[in-house]
């Protein structure tokens, strides 16, 4: 009896400790963008743009955009509250975007860190870099849809089935903190009334140093991870004959046996299907030719890419991490960083075309 009484009392008293956030009485931020403030005398160092959808009873969705400038990113949130009728919550955040300026000059880890420390923000939030002006990008109306969901979906399906490698808050932090990895994030830009993926931004530490163009993402993805996608690769045999090869499955094999003599061999394997062919007849000899051309092209692009990474001393392919995993004893990061730029990395490609159409 006493126990029941104590339980009931504590139940009533403890209810005062929980904070309610009733669904229709909160302002849910779905996308947040960080930019440097405009030069003309704005106070503070960071400009934060938050977009919160407002769902109307008749099915319309209105996007409320809140722009605030502050010294610290944490201050921005309390400033948002000062101009919103409902309290701000971050639990439904889908995407966090950073302007290219901020990524190149200030670095983004402080901003990412605030996201990471908020328990209501999931680790699957997408991060991205925008090369367009953040305020314009987020103020654009993308139709009767909430801006956060719109950009999230664009990034999501492209990294699941398309050309983007998987990137989210968790991946970014892993690549940032672990040894022998460097993070990369998708690079987006405003394209009239759409958001377009321009490529990926490469980071050294938390600063953006370079980028890869969208058309080279196929190669990057082959180099980076095992994947299958709807993305296709176009091979040009000559001016008239082109073939679009649709990737069913690709695999990368790292050969680290000769790491002692500073040699790494990267093997890429692609199983493909010809989707489109502009030539006249697809003979087995032609198929062989297409395979060879594709192999060569990817090999060339890939090697160039690797060379660039080495010259920038960044490692988005996480070669260092793979080397670390086969190193006995302690892995010396400084030592690796010194060795990496001069490492002899060979890239070999192997393309197999399994099908070339139903009608032969």
């Amino acid at each position: 009896m006493t126990r029941l009484f104590l339980f009931l009392v504590s139940m009533i008293l403890l209810t005062g400790c929980v904070q309610k956030s009733i669904l229709d009485d909160i302002q849910m931020v779905t996308i947040i963008g960080y930019d440097l403030p405009d030069a003309d005398g704005e106070m503070g160092q960071i400009k934060g743009i938050a977009v919160s959808p407002q769902y109307e009873a008749d099915g319309r969705i209105e996007n409320n955009v809140f722009v605030q400038t502050a010294e610290l990113s944490k201050e921005i949130r309390s400033q948002y509250n000062s101009e919103s009728p409902k309290p701000f919550v971050s639990g439904k955040l889908e995407v966090a975007l950073f302007s290219q300026d901020i990524a190149e000059t200030e670095g983004i880890i402080e901003l990412v860190d605030t996201l990471q420390r908020d328990p209501s923000i999931g680790s699957r939030v997408f991060l991205g870099i925008s090369s367009s002006d953040m305020e314009t990008l987020l103020k654009t109306n993308y139709g009767n849809v909430d801006t956060g969901t719109f950009i999230h979906d664009t990034l999501s399906h492209n990294s699941r089935h398309g050309m983007l490698p998987e990137t989210n808050l968790h991946d970014f932090l892993y690549n940032f903190y672990s040894e022998g990895n460097d993070p990369f994030l998708p690079l987006v830009a405003l394209d009239e009334d759409k958001v377009k993926i321009m490529g990926i931004a490469l980071f050294k530490g938390d600063k953006m140093v370079s980028s890869i163009d969208a058309k080279d993402l196929f190669t990057f993805k082959v180099l980076h991870q095992k994947f299958s996608s709807n993305d296709s690769f176009t091979v040009s045999l000559n001016d008239e004959e082109h073939a679009a090869i649709y990737n069913i499955a690709s695999k990368r094999d790292l050969n680290l046996k000769m790491i002692g003599s500073n040699k790494i061999v990267l093997h890429g394997k692609v199983l493909g299907v010809i989707k489109e062919y502009s030539g006249e007849k697809l003979t087995p000899a032609k198929l062989k030719e297409i395979e060879m051309t594709m192999e060569k092209e990817i090999e060339k692009k890939g090697s160039e890419m690797i060379e660039e990474f080495q010259s920038l001393n960044i490692d988005p392919l996480s070669l260092g991490n793979n080397v670390r995993s086969v190193t006995r004893g302690d892995f010396n990061k400084e030592d690796w960083n010194k060795r990496y730029p001069d490492m002899d990395i060979t890239f070999k490609m192997d393309v197999t075309i399994t099908e070339s159409g139903v009608i032969e």
């Binding site: 929980v18 229709d24 009873a57 099915g59």
Partner: protein, 500 residues
């Protein structure tokens, strides 16, 4: 004045206070339907007394009286010899005489001052005809249901179990109603302890009236403070037969078309008797659907309240727009909104249950369509919640035992309260309370959650999934049956008749 009358009432009611037979008869004459008359013959006369409302008068006139008057009666001993009806008693025990006359016996006395008399049974047996089961209707299977007459009910069971092991222990319960109660069990199969528990509990009952077996159920149940029924009541004689064969104990009570079954387990409340009439795959999927429906019915509204009040992060982003826009104009917090709807469903159900069938249907339509749509249009409730509440009410009616569906609907309210106070944590806390309570429950001293806890793998053959009849060859462990083997399964030889 009133005091006197009370004393008189008390006096007239108790046969113990009456000194002798003439006094008893004088007392009985107070009732208008108590008939008495004297038959005067040449050399013998006798007095006859009976309640005309309890006695079959045609039978009395055609089969009893002719034998009495054909030759003069010398002694009372002549009566049982002459009257071709079994069960004629000669008695001078006032209590017995009184009891028998109240059950439709005819008193015959040879003279007005005699202390002893003959009692001839001639009860009128008026009972409703056996009809179709209404609560536990099944499409296939027997269409007989118990009625209010104990004899008819016993007949329905006995004709299905023509074995001498079927024992019927009879006793009367209730100081005023003197209700006949029968404990049915199969000797040598039912556990003796279980039988004795039931007998003991029935004998210990000290109440003045037992009008239905539901009252008995509350009096002999293990935990009277639990909303969960711990005995199953059924109106199907075939179900009673089936559980008797399993080794359970059945209690039948006169005047009630419901039999009580014990010991039982929680899973039994979710298995319909129809499950045994269909293929085991069909039966098992029906059971799984039912269990899902119960959980859905208890949890879905509380989870809605908890999520909307505390855990907006959990809502998938595609559902977010639907939920927010449906709640846009609603002034009430989710808990009040939910309680409002749950209460209106309860109101509808209660009103429907109290009204005659035809009016009840109208209430259902009026309630379901008019109130539902109107409250959504008025902006009092969101249409999403309306769907959820309606579905959960519907799901609660899938339980085959009516009593359990009442409990299920009731269980939702504490869950709602906890969901509002503590969110999903509260739902979890409440769920643990529920499980703890169920773990503590017993049915005739046997664990109520068996075979889930204590885990008895053998009994799982007929719990959440009903396995084929071939595997049902052992009696459930929890019944502690004295004969555990039901039958030895014969392995059939497979005939290959496919000529290729």
């Amino acid at each position: 004045m009133v005091k006197n009358m009370l004393r008189w009432l008390k006096k007239s009611r108790s046969p113990d206070k009456l000194k002798n037979l003439p006094e008893l008869i004088r007392n009985l004459k107070d009732s208008g339907d108590f008939l008495h008359h004297e038959s005067k013959q040449k050399d013998s006369s006798f007095f006859i007394y009976y309640f005309k409302t309890l006695v079959h008068e045609t039978e009395l006139n055609d089969h009893i009286l002719p034998y009495l008057v054909e030759k003069p009666l010398k002694t009372l001993q002549d009566i049982p010899e002459r009257v071709p009806i079994p069960g004629v008693i000669i008695s001078d025990d006032l209590k017995e005489i009184c009891e028998k006359v109240m059950r439709g016996y005819v008193i015959i006395r040879l003279n007005a001052n005699a202390k002893d008399c003959a009692l001839i049974p001639s009860q009128v047996k008026k009972a409703r005809a056996v009809t179709q089961p209404e609560v536990e209707f099944t499409v296939v299977g027997s269409k007989e249901a118990f009625v209010e007459s104990l004899d008819t009910n016993m007949h329905l069971v006995r004709k299905r179990l023509p074995v001498h092991e079927l024992k019927a222990y009879e006793l009367t319960v209730g100081k005023l109603t003197n209700t006949k109660v029968v404990v049915l069990y199969l000797d040598g199969i039912a556990n003796e302890e279980n039988v004795n528990t039931v007998k003991q509990r029935l004998e210990d009952i000290k109440v003045d009236q037992i009008v239905d077996s539901s009252v008995l159920m509350q009096l002999i149940t293990d935990n009277r403070n639990s909303p969960f029924p711990q005995l199953i009541d059924t109106e199907r004689p075939d179900r009673v037969t089936s559980v008797l064969c399993e080794g359970k104990v059945v209690v039948l009570s006169d005047g009630s078309p419901q039999a009580l079954i014990g010991p039982t387990t929680l899973v039994e409340f979710f298995s319909a008797f129809e499950d045994y009439f269909v293929n085991w795959i069909v039966a098992s999927s029906a059971r799984l659907i039912r269990i899902f429906a119960i959980l859905f019915s208890i949890l879905v509204t509380p989870v809605y309240v908890a999520t909307l009040t505390y855990h907006y992060e959990l809502i998938p982003k595609d559902l977010l727009g639907t939920l927010v826009s449906s709640r846009q104009r609603i002034p009430l917090p989710p808990i009040l909104e939910a309680i409002f709807l749950e209460l209106s469903i309860e109101l509808l159900r209660e009103a429907g249950a109290r009204l005659p069938t035809k009016v009840g249907q109208t209430i259902g339509i009026v309630g379901g369509i008019v109130i539902g749509t109107a409250s959504v249009e008025a902006g009092l409730t969101s249409n999403v919640l309306l769907i959820i509440v309606a579905l959960s009410a519907l799901a609660s009616f899938t339980t085959p035992v009516y009593r359990m569906s009442n409990t299920i609907r009731l269980t939702r309210f504490p869950f709602l309260l906890f969901a509002h106070l503590w969110g999903l944590l509260g739902v979890t806390v409440c769920f643990s309370f529920l499980i703890a309570h169920l773990l503590k429950l017993k049915s005739l001293g046997r664990p109520f959650l068996e075979p889930l806890y204590p885990l008895r793998v053998q009994d799982l053959k007929d719990a959440i999934i009903r396995f084929p009849l071939k595997f049902q060859n052992k009696r459930p462990i929890h019944l502690q049956s004295e004969d555990t083997v039901r039958f030895t399964p014969v392995t059939e030889k497979e005939k290959n008749d496919f000529h290729e």
